[in-house]
Amino acid sequence: MSKNSHRVQIVLFLVFIGAFFLLHLCLPDRSFSERENRVMQEAPRFTFSELFSGRFMTKFEKYMSDQFPARDAWTTLKARAEVTQGKQENKNVYLCPVEREPLEYMLIERFDAPEDSVIEKNISALNTLCEATDGEVYFALIPGAGEICKDLLPDDAPMDSQRAVIEKAYALSEAKNVDVFGALDAHDGEYLFYGTDHHWTSRGAYYGYTAFAQAMGFESRPISDFEVETVTTEFYGTTYSSSGFSWVQPDHIERWVQQGENVTITNYPAGSPVEASLYDDSFLAKKDKYASFLGGNTPQLVAETGLADKPKLLIVRDSYMDSAMPFLLEDYSEIHMIDLRYFRTSLREYIAENEIDQVLVCYSVANFSTDTNLFLLGL
């Protein structure tokens, strides 16, 4: 090799490492990544106690990679490199080709079944609740795309059965079980789950509602009753954020139910009541557009419908219920929603105080398998 070749190689290397070093120093840091939907590590403050505990170094390394120049382009490149090698997943999310309007791909998260002991513990808390309440308790587990759309997965891809988890849980449950799986599975092939997010779509939630209706003894309205409004065609959800498959098409978000005049919704984001509504449009301008349903995660929320002759319902739930609750408004006088991750109280007392007639415990299989707060059901 000529001396010039050597020089070229040295310069290439030094320019590459030097340029990104300087760019990182010069470019402004960002505190939040829209793409990854998370807070980014900013420059850690130096103190001796942080130094000797090692926290400074850990934070600094995270800072270096979180604030790396053009980070989003690099994570896309990594995902591309994985696919080029013949892999069909990145970070536990499968890239599944599909022809289903408006999607060309569905990003489906891998599901790992919990230990039987987790199911048993959660169900025993549920059963304690059943025994302690006079009202009827209903129990619903919502399967995710990994179960309903499993025919879209890469051949032989590892994916534990969510249906098996549902069956185990239902067999142990003393509540009245709701067959959400059957309702969704009957309509496989429709746009039931977002391609870029783990939640069900409003259509999926509608079929969930028909299953609730059947189990809980009220008439569900036919699909033709609804006037569907598409509120965004630019929704990139959680599996998009975690996977790096940034070249997939965005999802659409639909609203099937409009808020009636007599419906009032009170949210308790931090303990005290705040007037709210079925939809919070401000989220449509942000990354987390699914949170436009009821304004996202909250400890407690109460909807009053003005239909005095109808029963009162308490829903213990996760975020899947945000998009399904609007369907229930015509069948109850009050709907109370509680998220045990943020709301810690005795359900028994809550039910007595608010004169609740029916309780619906409703979780996605994924959250049911990992959430550690379900024991609160039994308190």
Binding site: M1, S2, K3, S5, H6, R7, V8, Q9, I10, L12, F13, L14, F16, I17, G18, F20, F21, H24, L51, F52, G54, M57, F60, E61, M64, S65, F68, R71, W74, T75, L77, K78, A79, A81, Q85, G86, K87, Q88, E89, K91, P154, D155, D156, A157, P158, G244
Partner: protein
């Protein structure tokens, strides 16, 4: 700090190279000494003190031995005392908890364990420092009068945490004078990038497969799965470890040092004896020169040679971590080496080359099970699964999916464990190499950066060494 990180590549390295080449040549050792300590202290600042202690003790031991060379008794006394201090330090920080825990198994004995964090690289730098007074005593190395130069040698960041084990006598001249050249620097850059690609693109990538299979409950592991897992680990540890050595050698060259080679395509070996001449060469050399040969090597009859092999490989195994499984791993190799010395090497010569090759690779692959799993029970269960006794069946659908997903990386890794790539590269016409080389370099830099920025899996495998 590890080389394969954003922090090292895009902050530490540019700063260090800039500083190093800006300061006048006579201050470069001091400059290196300081940046070495920053590098080392990044993980656990308190252990900088331990390293300084080790540097100081061995520095003065070297000086004392050199001073008393005429009176053998005194020099010998210093040497023995120094070796004891070094080993005591290593044993205390690395093995105390294992010994305490094991002794406490005796009813009525209850030694408390300390749960000390293992100082990173202690096994590497203790061996490096220890060999220096020995070499001075033997007259194989000159005494180093400058504390800074000696400290620079001990803490030299390229080989500090994952080898190779550089002996003082091999770099003594370079510590005092380094002629930096464009050729040396650019060959350092190329070598560093080869190592980076091995670590980030191959080892980290294929390691995911081993992690999947090693975490599986024994009953679920199929025969195919067990073999996929352990072959993946065999490739992971080779590309990780030799990648680190390549990066160390490359960084050394960028700073003007030449280190000896540490790996020489071990998986093309045709016997276990050959494997150990090609695997972690600096460790093998160390044990040969400071344990095996002083014990008499092969000059005192076959019985004594077997005893020496047992001692050396027990120590070699145990050096890799404070766990009895490492001792077993060493003895496993001792067994094969003795059998080969006794008769197998002669037999092997008579059978076809590819069978010899398969034999050596299978022994190495099966050995890694002992090496990498934590307990005898896990090791037993894994072997059982590999040979069909665990009840998981021959294969399942998930195995096929993983085989498909990792097929490309397997093929690349297996080809890259042979000298094929190097041979092809060396045969490139000069003008083609002048174009291909920079293109490959940029490709490696870009793709490695992508994988490091999005690092979900970037383990440091030598935290127990």
């Amino acid at each position: 700090m590890v080389f394969s990180s954003i922090l090292f590549l895009f902050a530490y390295l540019p700063i260090v190279l800039a500083l190093y080449y800006i300061v006048p040549a006579r201050w470069r050792n001091l400059c290196l000494f300081v940046v070495n300590l920053v590098f080392y202290g990044w993980g656990e600042p308190v252990y900088i003190l331990l390293m300084l202690f080790s540097i100081t003790v061995n520095y003065f031991a070297g000086r004392l031995i050199s001073k008393h060379r005429a009176e053998d008794k005194k020099a010998r006394g210093v040497l023995v005392a120094n070796t004891v201090i070094n080993l005591a330090m290593l044993v205390f920080f690395k093995y105390y908890d294992l010994f305490a825990g094991t002794i406490s198994l005796i009813p009525g004995v209850n030694l408390p364990t300390l749960g000390l964090e293992l100082p990173i690289g202690i096994s590497f730098y203790t061996f490096q420092t220890m060999s220096y007074p020995i070499d001075v005593y033997r007259g194989e190395a000159d005494v180093q009068k400058s504390y800074i130069s000696f400290g620079t040698f001990v803490a030299l960041f390229p080989q500090l945490i994952a080898g190779p084990i550089v002996r003082y006598k091999d770099v003594a001249n370079q510590l005092n004078f380094r002629a930096n050249s464009v050729e040396q620097f650019s060959s350092g850059v190329r070598r560093f990038l080869v190592g980076l690609a091995k670590k980030v693109l191959i080892a980290n990538n294929i390691g995911v497969l081993w992690d999947t299979y090693s975490a599986m409950p024994a009953g679920e592991l199929t025969v195919l799965g067990a073999w996929l897992g352990i072959v993946a680990f065999s490739l992971q540890i080779y590309f990780d470890f030799s990648g680190y050595s390549d990066m160390a050698i490359g960084l050394g060259r960028m700073l003007g040092f030449e280190f000896l080679e540490n790996f020489n395509y071990p998986y093309i070996s045709q016997s276990v004896t050959e494997f150990w001449r090609r695997w972690h060469i600096s460790l093998g050399t160390w044990f040969r020169d400071y344990v095996y040969i002083p014990l008499g090597g092969n000059r005192r009859g076959l019985g004594r040679q077997f005893f020496n092999i047992l001692v050396v490989w027990a120590l070699t195994g145990f050096w890799h971590g404070a766990n009895w499984t490492f001792l077993m791993w060493g003895l496993y190799y001792a067994l094969f080496l003795m059998i080969e010395k006794a008769f197998l090497l002669k037999w092997l010569k008579k059978i076809p080359r590819f069978i010899r090759h398969i034999y050596a690779v299978v022994v190495a692959v099966c050995g890694w099970v002992l090496f990498q799993l934590d307990s005898v029970r896990q090791v037993g269960a894994y072997y059982k699964a590999m040979f069909g006794g665990a009840g998981g069946g021959l294969w399942n659908r998930a195995d096929l999916y993983r085989l498909g997903s990792f097929a490309v990386i397997f093929i690349v890794a297996i080809l890259a464990s042979t000298p094929l790539g190097k041979k092809l590269y060396d045969r490139l016409p000069k003008r083609a190499a002048a174009i291909v080389t920079p293109v490959l370099m940029v490709l490696v830099l870009v793709v490695c950066t992508a994988y490091l920025v999005d690092a979900t899996y970037n383990p440091f495998l030598y935290f127990r060494f």
